[in-house]
């Protein structure tokens, strides 16, 4: 195993990430990166839910909205400090996630997808129509930004904050994946009847996955609310949910890096297209969907999987297991 090569590549990669704001003073670039990091959080939650536990969610944006609006309302109407708002946003997302998941656990894939679509749509319609609470189509304004000793966060500061959060999320997923909890998920994903025969409570497993992914989506929403300062129902439609699923699938459903790769790629792709093909706002959606389609058709395991395979080959590592560290294979072989 070419350990040194691996160290160099990873080192360079992380180094680049860390110094990015210094290299590119472009505020727009930083802003898009921040959006990407927040999307990575949601997409990673989806990878966990759909890729690991095998549960489809086509309404994930509903949880993002719950997190966002809750935090927005708590900090504006109730005047609470931002951390409380964020915690409230996450908590409510998790609770709603559990409420959706608990009765749905026995539904097979297609039916579950319908329930989640319905859920997402219901949330959207509530956002638009409960004007007294959510401000309707006008939305919520004057949501307080995060502040450091009195001054609002700059894009750079948000960048580092989000970077830390993404790192924590990935670390959490890493630990869960390479443990008995990860094994339970993958087992339920592959064959939930057989999993039950191995004393695994598939309901608890699915509900746990739903709750966790909902919480992550809520976290992302809450952070968005404070970074952007206002909220409207616009970014919480069905197609935005579909977009998050696309991120997870394009990134690689069974990969830890799936959320990262997919979130990054599908946040930047439309932006780059929008820049290159200026003036035709409609075109970029078109090209975006075509590119995603192509990836799906030719690389259904996702870009992250191909990346992972390529890298493993680069440093001569054998890929042995989904939930076990490769180092153990030396004993087994």
């Amino acid at each position: 195993m070419r350990r040194n090569l691996k160290r160099i590549v990873y080192g360079a990669f992380f180094g680049l990430i860390l110094v990015l704001p210094l290299l590119s003073r472009n505020e727009y670039v930083l802003f898009v990166m921040n959006k990407a990091l927040l999307n990575i959080i949601v997409a990673s939650g989806l990878v966990f839910l759909t890729g690991f536990a095998g549960q489809i969610s086509l309404g994930q944006v509903g949880f993002v909205a719950i997190g966002a609006y809750t935090s927005g309302l708590v900090t504006t109407r109730l005047g609470m400090p931002i951390p409380i708002g964020i915690v409230a946003g996450i908590a409510l997302s998790v609770i709603v996630g559990l409420v959706v998941a608990i009765p749905s656990f026995k539904l097979k894939a297609f039916f579950l997808s319908l329930v989640t679509i319905a859920f997402g749509q219901i949330i959207y319609l509530l956002l638009v129509n409960l004007t007294a609470v959510t401000g309707g189509s006008q939305g919520l304004f004057n949501i307080p930004p995060m502040k450091l000793s009195g001054t609002p966060f700059t894009n750079t500061l948000y960048y580092y904050l989000f970077l830390v959060l993404v790192a924590l999320v990935i670390l959490l997923m890493y630990r869960l994946k390479y443990s008995y909890i990860g094994r339970q998920m993958f087992a339920v994903n592959d064959d939930d009847v057989a999993a039950e025969a191995c004393a695994i409570n598939s309901r608890k497993t699915k509900v746990f996955a739903f709750g966790l992914s909902a919480g992550l989506a809520g976290l992302s929403g809450a952070l968005t609310a404070h970074m952007v300062g206002f909220l409207t129902p616009d970014p919480f439609t069905f197609f935005d949910s579909a977009n998050f699923v696309a991120m997870a699938v394009v990134g690689g459903l069974r990969q830890l890096s799936g959320g990262v790769v997919g979130g990054f790629a599908l946040t930047w792709l439309p932006e780059l297209l929008r820049l290159k093909i200026s003036g035709f706002e409609n075109y970029y959606l078109l090209v975006n969907s075509v590119i995603v389609l192509l990836v799906l058709v030719f690389l259904p395991s996702g870009l992250g999987a191909s990346l992972s395979k390529g890298l493993s080959r680069l440093w001569g590592e054998k890929q042995g297991a989904v939930t076990l560290h490769n180092s153990k294979s030396k004993e087994g072989e």
Partner: protein, 254 residues
């Protein structure tokens, strides 16, 4: 010797079809009990009720004296009844040792929080369970294949893996649903070997089988089902001479 499992008047109806009717069956601890019968006689329905896949329409299932007829499958498995499936149902995205490790999840006491924090407790437990899983693979002769994917294994080894996975649950009762089905001659010998090891370890088993050779060598007591009812029971040598049994199997050569 005590009966580890008993069914009393076990009946299962699907719409208009009576798959199991009034079955009284007892499984003695430490022994291997066989369940045979022509196709469609209700053997798999019987096992499915015991393992909790669906509840009986009427009657009861007593496991160590406790009624488990309405309990869900994962609870029954947790209480100590493990099974294999007629069509091998392995976790295809997990490798061989991971498949076995799935059964070992039950023995993990570390909580989700432990896992999230990556505590020493979790690391120790994971290592212990990994070693245990390899042991179980050793019992069925798969320890050299630990890192392979199930899809790359020959049929006989996949069946062995399913048995290892069920064994890893450390069950008091092991239900085997047609383990010898579709085996080549060599695979048949291998699986008989596994049965011998299991019997040596005094694993209590309920064996549903079609292959009479297998039943003959493996079981201590056998029940014969036909059209959902028990038509005969006893040691195999007696049962195979029973008139009702022969009639039931007429045209159903093995």
């Amino acid at each position: 010797m005590a009966n580890i499992l008993e069914t009393k008047a076990l009946t299962k109806r699907f719409g208009g079809i009576v798959a199991n009717h009034g079955i009284n069956l007892a499984i003695e601890q430490g022994k291997t009990t066989g369940l045979i019968g022509p196709n469609g006689s209700g053997k798999t329905t019987f096992i499915n009720q015991i393992s909790g896949i669906f509840p009986p329409t009427s009657g009861s299932i007593l496991f160590r004296g406790e009624d488990i007829s309405r309990k869900p499958a994962c609870e029954i498995a947790s209480m100590g009844i493990a099974r294999t499936f007629q069509r091998i149902q392995l976790f295809n995205h997990l490798n061989v040792v991971e498949n076995v490790l799935v059964s070992r999840c039950k023995f993990m006491s570390a909580s989700a929080l432990d896992v999230a924090l990556g505590t020493a407790k979790v690391r120790h437990e994971e290592k212990d369970q990994f070693d245990k899983a390899v042991e179980f693979l050793g019992i069925v002769g798969l320890d050299g294949d630990a890192w392979k994917l199930p899809s790359s294994l020959p049929y006989g080894k996949r069946r062995a893996l399913e048995i290892a996975r069920a064994l890893a649950l450390e069950p008091s009762l092991l239900l085997l649903d047609e383990p010898a089905a579709g085996m080549t001659k060599e695979e048949f010998v291998q699986i008989l070997g596994i049965m011998d090891i299991l019997k040596e370890r005094k694993v209590t088993m309920l064996l549903v089988e079609h292959t009479m050779e297998f039943i003959r060598r493996a079981v201590d007591w056998v029940y014969v089902l036909n059209f959902g009812e028990v038509i005969a029971q006893g040691p195999f040598e007696e049962v195979e001479k029973d008139k009702a049994v022969i009639t039931a199997y007429l045209g159903d050569e093995e």
